[in-house]
């Protein structure tokens, strides 16, 4: 199965094309056929569609070769996140192929602490939520046990952190001192601080192969909108 993978939940603009094939023991093997990533928090709107096209070109494939779309649904800063989700939804719609949502933090966990590795402790994944907060979740043996939630790094619940022995993600790196846990460095690349094409595809692989039902690409906002109207709301008679 060939799948398009998209994530814009972080400062990274990420697109790729993966091939997913059945592996031993009912598992799925993912290979990345094409990939474009750039860390630029303001460029999602400009770059994403270009990256989708370039990933396909690199893979030597066309839109019609796609069997599925996999999209990171956050949590992440809203404006960028929506670019990825509406792009994924529209491509899925236009091609008539299913779309699979992936919690973007799960994709980071999948690389930092692969599900087939049984670890002694739990993993904290934290992404930058701006406003001095992080989006976070806690994983045990590759499975999300808590989260996603949004909090100040110093105010993560003690209960949540009790068994955590390591951390990953751009938010974890940013607040490494406050969080005080060893940071997992994956493949020597800081790009693994963000959801990767491989990580996203691995999380969704079983569903894609099993042709599981596609789900709506519902964004994980975790915050209410700031309810400030676009027009000024001061008293009309004020000068």
């Amino acid at each position: 199965m060939i799948a398009l993978v998209i994530d814009t939940s972080s400062a990274a603009v990420t697109a790729g094309v993966v091939e997913i094939v059945p592996a031993l023991g009912g598992a799925a093997a993912v290979s990345v056929r094409g990939e474009r990533v750039k860390v630029d928090a303001r460029a999602h709107g400009e770059l994403l569609a270009v990256f989708v096209k370039e990933s396909l070109d690199e893979a030597g494939l066309g839109m019609r070769d796609l069997n599925a779309v996999i999209a990171g649904v956050g949590p992440g800063p809203f404006t960028g996140l929506r670019v990825g989700l509406v792009t994924a939804a529209a491509i899925s719609d236009a091609l008539g192929v299913p779309a699979y949502p992936v919690c973007s933090l799960d994709a980071i966990a999948a690389i930092a602490q692969p599900p087939d590795v049984v670890s002694a402790g739990e993993l904290l994944v934290a992404a930058d939520a701006r406003r001095r907060e992080v989006y976070w979740a806690v994983y045990r043996d590759g499975r999300r046990r808590l989260g996603p939630e949004v909090d100040k790094p110093a105010e993560l619940r003690i209960e949540a952190m009790a068994a955590v022995t390591a951390m990953a993600g751009a938010g974890a790196r940013m607040y490494a001192e406050v969080l005080g846990l060893p940071l997992i460095e994956t493949a020597g690349s800081s790009l693994s601080d963000y959801p990767t094409v491989l990580g996203l595809a691995q999380v969704a692989a079983a569903d894609v192969l099993g042709a599981g039902p596609a789900a709506p690409l519902t964004p994980l906002y975790l915050r209410r909108p700031d309810a400030v109207a676009a027009t000024a709301s001061k008293a009309v008679s004020q000068p």
Binding site: T79, V86, A88, A90, P225, A227, T231, S237
Partner: protein
């Protein structure tokens, strides 16, 4: 056949146009979600656009009786408007263009307000003056060809847009949001000559085609507050009618003057405020007196919609404009002269 996507404010609009024939005009509005804030909340609008995008595309296709595969080009509002809201539409348009392998046209929202007239009133080969009035803009434009790539702005508002003034006065009068239709309705029961509110920038030395509505809005507030202080009753209908008269008097006087000075035969109205019944009536009256022909789309096409974007896209395609690149951005302050991005 062009699919048009509009997400510059609080309406998710998807239109389908063949040439200058309107096939579908599907709209999902988040206006009710903004009402309690007295104005459009950008984040609420952006969330609603994402949610409504695909279902509204489907509704437009169903209304037109076509499938996505029949679409020849995708047009989208690239600006001006709310940045986060625009971005949802632009990203969707790129994705559809890419997946369907069709050209993309990123167009100017204001030009689209002008081009929509072709759907209603047919081709116009002559130059015209367009009065574009909405919650975000109030401009007098010189348009060599409706749906063309050249537009000159003769004047614009120096402060509030006309629609913004309607919203603010409606709030002051306790009528609610959005203010345009509510003031229009109240004004029908009121006396437009009851109170003489100021006509901004109509002095001999003022710029001929510029507008200012912030002084008018303040004058209305002062008048109401003074009455209330003296314990006198305020006729909401009279205030609404008198305020509305002041706005449409200035708008139509300046637009007609522009048409005469430029020596054109046509005046075109567009934008959400062009749905106002008194503006339409007074424009018709003054155009007739001045020997001008008035072109104004039905109210449903004056407010933001996807059909206007598709209409402009179709004109650009027909005149051989080159398609937009896949890396175009959304520009919240796109100048009116940039018809195609």
């Amino acid at each position: 056949m062009v699919l048009g996507i509009e997400t510059s404010c609080d309406e998710t609009g998807i239109g389908i146009v063949r040439g200058s024939e309107l096939l579908a005009d599907a709209i999902a509005s988040s206006v009710a979600e903004h009402a309690r804030f007295g104005g459009v909340v950008p984040e609420v609008a952006s969330r609603a656009h994402l949610q409504a995008m695909i279902p509204t595309v489907h509704r437009a296709c169903a209304d037109a009786g076509v499938s996505l595969a029949d679409i020849d080009a995708i047009a989208v509002t690239a600006g001006p408007g709310l940045a986060g809201a625009l971005l949802v539409g632009v990203a969707a348009a790129k994705a559809y263009a890419l997946a369907l392998d069709k050209p993309l046209y990123g167009v100017n929202h204001l030009s689209a307000h002008v081009a929509v007239d072709l759907l209603e009133n047919g081709p116009l080969e002559e130059a015209c003056i367009a009065l574009l009035v909405s919650g975000g803009h109030s401009s007098i434009l010189q348009v060599p060809r409706v749906g063309g790539e050249e537009i000159v702005e003769l004047g614009a508002t120096l402060d509030d847009a006309a629609g913004e003034a309607f919203d603010k006065v409606a709030r002051l009068l306790g009528l609610g949001f959005p203010g345009g239709p509510l003031i229009d309705r109240a004004a029908r029961e009121g006396d437009p000559a009851a109170i003489t509110f100021p006509r901004g920038l109509t002095g001999a030395h003022d710029p001929a085609f510029a507008f200012s509505f912030s002084g008018l809005k303040t004058a209305v507030a002062r008048w109401v507050e003074a009455r209330q202080r003296q314990g006198e009753p305020v006729s909401v209908n009279d205030v609404a009618a008198s305020f509305q008269e002041a706005v449409v008097d200035v708008l139509t006087a300046k637009a007609v003057r522009a048409a005469r000075e430029q020596g054109v035969d046509y005046l075109l109205l567009g934008g959400g405020v062009a749905a106002n019944s008194r503006l339409r009536a007074l424009a018709a009256e003054r155009c007739e007196k001045a020997g001008l022909r008035l072109r104004v789309p039905r109210p449903g096409l004056c407010t933001d919609n996807g059909a206007m974007v598709a209409a402009l896209g179709a004109q650009l395609v027909m005149h051989g404009a080159s398609a937009s690149r896949l890396d175009i951005g959304a520009d919240s302050a796109l100048p009116i002269t940039d018809v195609l991005v």
